[in-house]
Every structure is written in C-alpha cells, then in structure tokens.
C-alpha cells in the first residue's frame, strides 16, 4: 500500500446500503464502507454469510445503488448524470454464486456470445472474443457446439465464467467460484483463476470461504463483518488476527494453527505461515 504507485481502478467511497427500507425485513447490509481496487490486483473478500460481501459486490457494478456514498471508476463518479452505467457493467464483470444457473442458450458458443453482443460488439468481434474466452477457461474445443446443459457441473461453471470474460472486463468479481465442486474441480478452477490473473493483468476480486485459497492467491484481503470492513491488509497480516476472525465465524488457514500450536509448545517457528509448502520448510528446520 504505502509507497507503491499502483493505479487505482475503483473506489467505494463511504457507501451504506439498507434492504427493505420500509418493510418488515429492514436491515443494514453495508454501513459506511470504503475500499479500493487497484489495477492488476488480486483482492480476497471474506466474511461469513450475511456479512454484507454479496451486497458490496453488487454495488461495485451498479446493480445496487448505495443509499449513501458513491463509487468512483477511473476517477469518475458512476452516479454522476450521464455516466454510462451499462459500460461500467462491462468493465466490472460479475460472476455470481452458482453462475451455471444463469445459462440459457442452446450452445456453449452462443451462451458466451450473449454478453459481447449485448455490449454492442459486432458479430465477428463477439465471436472472436467468445472464442478467446472459452479457450481461456480451459474448455475443450469439442464442447463449443454442445448444449451447456449437457456439461458437467464444473464445465458449466467455466462456461458461465467465460461468458463474463468474453466482454473483456477490467475488474472481474467472482462470488465463491468453487462452491459445490469436488476437490480436484476446486483445485483446477483455482489454477485457472490464477492463470487469468497472470495473463490478463486484470484485477480480480475473489469472494471465498476458503482461507487457504485466498491466502494462496490474494495480494490483499478484505474482511467483512456485520456490514463493516474490519481488516484490509496483506494476507499474513490479516491472518495474524486469527482469534478475532474466529469470533466472526471465520478462521485462519489450517497451517497457521499448526504453527501457533508449535510456537505455544516452545518451538521457535514463524507463525505467519499459510500454506503447506511454507509449513513444511519451517517444520523441517526444527526436526532435522
């Protein structure tokens, strides 16, 4: 943060949002939340169900309008008169949870073309862009003309992600892309997401419940609880608050607990360890 000159893409400036303002289910989902997304950055957004992270996500591409505060994109207030919010939705791509439930076209290819066409690309551009997106998510060529409904769960999800990638977003927000997949499926999808980050220079906001995934991939972690942002820092610094995280119904990566317990038993080990590789190195130091 301090010192480096990253270009800021998006700023959420003191936004608040309430659901069902006059009804029986009134509740405040966001309370004076501010945060930024920098160019090319990978942000992990964590918080338990109901902490406001889905609401925040929808604020970022103007699907929900904040009651108070505003969003700036590339320095412009998106709620200024005359701002093209449809174009904003192209630039800030949003992949919802279980995105395979939004599929409707007869073929994978048409499905992925849907977005580009909507955003005004001509036929040829749309098709080229769709082709590139399908390749990027790692779907085999033979499924281009298959019905998306005949694919496996993991593949359907890739189609849905491709359909957002095809509009060439500058920020890609994904809500729990690995939910419901089996271990290998989860691993493969996370690898794909990492490759997107590396190849595209695209900013990614990943909403996840898996601390291991977030710790592995994110440059920065934002923790939400009860409509507030509680932490916004590098992964290791955030996980150092593991006790507070637990109180919010979250946890630190498993490896961190192992190191904490070793430290408590009197070993001189680092405790800011988040993955197996690091843990192994630390432990090898004390057992050999």
């Amino acid at each position: 943060m301090a010192g480096d000159k990253k270009k800021i893409k998006l700023i959420a400036d003191h936004i608040s949002f309430e659901y069902d303002k006059s009804g029986a289910n009134r509740h405040k989902a966001l309370d004076d939340v501010s945060f930024v997304v920098n160019e090319g950055e990978f942000v992990g957004l964590i918080g338990h169900t109901g902490s406001g992270k889905s609401t925040l996500m929808q604020q970022l591409n103007a699907l929900l309008k904040p009651d108070k505060g505003t969003i700036y994109y590339d320095g412009l207030d998106i709620y200024e008169k005359g701002y093209d919010r449809k174009e904003l939705r192209r630039r800030v791509g949003l992949v919802f949870q279980y995105p395979e439930h939004q599929l409707f076209e007869d073929t994978v290819f048409n499905e992925v073309c849907f977005g580009p066409k909507n955003f005004g690309m001509d036929k040829k551009q749309s098709e080229l862009s769709a082709y590139a997106a399908i390749k990027k998510v790692g779907l085999p060529d033979e499924c281009f003309y298959h019905s998306p409904f005949d694919l496996s769960g993991g593949q359907k999800r890739r189609v849905a992600i491709a359909s957002v990638l095809a509009v060439k977003p500058e920020i890609l927000i994904m809500d729990e892309p690995t939910a419901g997949l089996d271990p290998k499926g989860r691993e493969e999808l996370m690898e794909m997401i990492l490759s997107l980050k590396e190849s595209e220079g695209l900013s990614i906001v990943l909403v996840s419940h898996s601390m291991e995934d977030v710790a592995k991939l994110a440059d920065r972690i934002v923790v939400m609880d009860k409509g507030h942002i509680v932490y916004d820092d590098e992964p290791k610094k955030v996980f150092a608050h593991y006790k507070e995280l637990e109180e919010m119904g979250l946890a630190a990566p498993e490896m961190m607990y192992v190191m904490q317990e070793l430290k408590a038993a009197g070993f001189n080990v680092r405790t800011d360890v988040t993955d197996i590789e690091e843990a192994k190195e630390e432990i090898l130091r004390i057992v050999t």
Partner: protein
Amino acid sequence: MLRDITLGQYYQTESKLHELDPRTKLVGTFVYLISLFVFTNAYVYIFAASFLLLCVLISHIPPTYMIKGMKPIIFLLVFTMVLNMLVTPGEVILTLWKLTITKEGVKQALYMGARLTLLVMGSNMMTLTTTPTRLTNGLERLMAPLKLIKVPVHEIAMMMSIALRFIPILMDETDRIMKAQLARGADFESGNLIKKAKSLVPVLVPLFISAFRRANDLAMAMEARCYHGGKGRTQMKPLKYRPRDFVAYLILILYLAGIILIGRYL
C-alpha cells in the same frame, strides 16, 4: 423490486386475528368480498372500509404495510377507474378531444376503485394473518365435502401450500438471475414490447429450469419422508374451533346485518 410484493405473504406478529381458526377467516373473507358486491352505495363502502380498518388495528399489522401491498395492482386499479370514467354514459362534465367524462362515470369510477381496493386489502388481511399452511388446512377442511364427488381436495391443498412456500424462493431466484444477466449486459427496459418480451428469455429459461429442478428435488424429499397422499395421514395442528371463533362469527353476522341495513335504507 420483486421483494415488495406482499400479496399472499404471511406477516409474523401476535394478534387476536392471527389466532383465529383459518376457516373462520376464510368464511369471513368470503362474506366480506360478497358484501362489497351486493350494494353499490357510498355508505356501504364507508362501513366496509371502517370494518377493514378495525381488522387492521386488531391485527397489529402496520397500516403502511397494508398500503404497500396495493402496489402490484395500482396499474389495474387506475386502468379500471379511467375506463369506467370514460365509457359510462350520462351527464357530460368534461370533454377532452374525443373523450368525454360523465358525472355518472366519475361516480362509477370511485365505486369501482373503492371496491377493488377493499377487495384486495380484504383478501390481503387474510393471507397476512394466516400462515399458508393453516390457510390450506382450512381450505382443505372447508372443501372436504367435495371429496364425495371425487375432487382431490387434499392434493389441491398440498399443491397450494407448496406453491406458497416456494413463491419467495423463486422471487429471490428471479431477482438473482436478472442481476446475473444484467451483469452480462442484458437490457430489460429499453425497446418496444416485442424487444422487451424477447429480453426476458434469458431470465425465463434459467428460471424454469431451476423451478423444475426444485420441484424434482422436493418431490424426492417428500417421498423420502413417507409422503403418500392424504390417506392415513394425521395432523400436527388439527383445526379446532375455539370460543374466540364464535365471537368472530358473531361479529361477522353483525357486520353483514349492518351492510344489509345500510344498503337497504340509506
């Protein structure tokens, strides 16, 4: 948006009206609706409206909530009123281009408006104070005699109750799918009617698929829990009239008498 529709939703709070037997409320609502159609008379509507207001007060449902429940029918309401205003023949009070508004028309429009408003609010009153399960239970019991002529009363009641259980879920789902398609650049607002209708395809297809999947899952879950129709089934909450229901029936009779008196003699 879609969440605002209160029609058919239960409002959880405690009140004398909530406690009544659903059969009482069903009969009451039925009588109330009929009472709105028997006489066309301003005093009758004032009386009926006061009765409804009394029910709202007893029910502990915020009046603003009741008014919000009218939102979905506002278009229908205005449309009916304007139509009545324009087509009723009589003493002309205003002519605009080819349209004429008559005194009788205005009167008719006001009556229609009052009738529709009370009709919707009256039936809302019932669904707001009765859980759908109790409502369907009540219907099942009231319609029980129809079993004799082979009407599948239990099945109808079960279907209704499931439909009601899934309405909020499907509403949320619609909302979610619409947002997902918006995020992919879909446009539900601009263009002519045909274009608008076409733009709904990306919402309807996933919605239907999801509804079928849910129906399938639910059928399986019901079967797994030994559901096999109404035969040999007992009830957790069997309906039983209590003293308060007799009081309610008494009030209902008084109301009906009031309507008839006012309708006849005022």
